[in-house]
């Protein structure tokens, strides 16, 4: 005789008791279990976010990520033992929102300061932090990518997600991730080659 299916569908595959998925499951009935998710992932997540929005804004964004995650934990797909794609996905959306708000703020400022300077301000907003921290040529190359490409690249390079995890974050299949990253590589290479000395020379500095 077959066992009756549970009302919510088949049981998720057994996960190690200390996996993120198990913790998040526990936290649905015992919310304080969720604190362990913060302790595990906050530092890595901060690195990723700080790289994208700067240390100052990162503090707020990271805090928001975990509050958002906590409030939506009931929708977490517990087939995925590692919560990082989920958290980095929330972070990536909040990073985008941060830049939207920043651009809006700068536009408003620009309107007051110099009505014609809107575009300059806007470019400044997306570029500023990256430019402060990266080699200018690399910053320019990153800036030339589309927002979607930049997200994918930085999730892999700075978030240290696998191709599969990055695909989960962005909702694209793994084959698409691989081909898109291939294209991104090519774009970066040509952007860097455009800009004078070869990247290998720069790399050896």
């Amino acid at each position: 005789m077959r066992t009756l299916p549970t009302p919510i569908g088949p049981d998720p595959p057994a996960q190690p008791a200390d996996s993120d998925a198990a913790l998040i499951g526990t936290s649905c009935s015992q919310p304080q279990a969720f604190a362990a998710i913060f302790d595990r992932h906050a530092d890595g997540l901060y690195q990723y976010v700080a790289g994208r929005v700067g240390a100052h804004a990162a503090a707020d964004v990271v805090a928001e990520v975990f509050v958002v995650a906590f409030r939506t934990r009931d929708r977490y797909d517990r087939d995925r033992p590692d919560a990082r794609p989920w958290l980095y996905g929330i972070a990536t959306r909040l990073v985008a929102r941060h830049w939207r708000e920043e651009r809006r703020r700068l536009r408003a400022l620009a309107r007051i300061a110099a009505p014609d300077a809107v575009d300059g301000f806007e470019e400044h907003a997306t570029d500023r932090v990256v430019a402060q921290q990266l080699h200018p040529r690399l910053a320019r190359a990153l800036h030339r990518l589309s927002a979607a490409d930049r997200d994918l690249l930085l999730l892999v390079a700075w978030g240290e997600l696998t191709y599969q995890q990055a695909g989960q974050v962005l909702g694209i299949p793994m084959g698409t991730v691989a081909s898109r990253l291939h294209r991104i590589r090519r774009k970066l290479r040509s952007a860097l080659d455009d800009a004078g000395p070869t990247r290998s020379a720069e790399n050896r500095q």
Partner: protein, 379 residues
Amino acid sequence: MDEIDLVRAARPVDSYPAAARAAARARLDAAIAEAAAPATSQPARRDRRRSGRMRRAAIAGALAVAVAVALTVTQQLGPDGAPPPAAPTANAAELANSAAAAAAARPVPTPRPHQWVYTKELRVEYGSRKPFTVEHWVRVDGRKDVRPTSDRRAARARKVSRERLPLQVLRQRLQLPPSRCPPDTPVRVRPAVGLGHWFPDPSAVPTDPDGLLAAVYRLVQDPACAPIPAGDTVQDQAFMLIDAMLATVLPAEVRAALYRALARIPGVTVVRGASDAAGRRGVALARAAAIEGRGSSGWLRLEIILDGDTYRYLGARHVVTRDHFIPDTPSGSKGTWFRKGQVLVSRAQLALAVVAAPCQRPGETTVCASYAEVTWVGG
């Protein structure tokens, strides 16, 4: 090197600043606490719709209820229900003189080095849901102290309380009792109780109010300690340090001088009808704290509460005197509202005594040792 590796290598290496990490964790803890609390638990979906501001208001509301359980008032009003008029400083001097006279007349035994000082306090702290009791025994020579296991609960409440405060400055400011040096600063090894905790030579502590106040001002600006938090003032620090001193065993003449010194701090006024964490009403020496800059000074009042008749020290509290918003980041729209009448921290001293042995309570001589000699020295 692959282009992606190039980007990877260029990742800025910022380690997560401890203060920002603690603040983020505290925000999550607040969300967790809210979800865990039966009174405020909501279906997750509805939860998500509530704005951050409403969430915080809900927390503040829950806190206010918890505080109201212990306190008969959340707002100090005069007997007629009107806000107390700004008392002239002369009143503070008058109250301080009365308190000093009462303290000087109250005999205080000199504790011997092998005896123990027992303190019992009831506290309400920002973020803790209900008042908790802290009992503590310290040997007079400061070499041993005993904290009952229940103290772990209190420590947790204190930790939660500190972590939920939105600003590092506030976190340092609102500790009761304030340590001489802010946390994380090495404190010179000194006796844990009495004047010796603060003064290298207790016998040389001035007993004239002006000299004592000057000594207190020097202490709060001690270069061995971390500098006073930005936006804080020497006067506020001195006020709170004197509060911490009043909560321990002191020679009668020093206690008397401390009361008079309090009234000499600029801006100290009298607030009638203040009640401590145990709900005991009294009269307070109070000071509007110049806390945390940007035009926000005067939204928090520090109070040292004395018994209205005997002028015995009852406790202390910090009360919000007008609505005030502190953003999480300097430019942020997110943050925490503090509401007028909210009591952020409150403390009631329930017992201060010299006992013969650790884990011995006044009046409970059979619990620990039969030879108990208990002398009340409450001021």
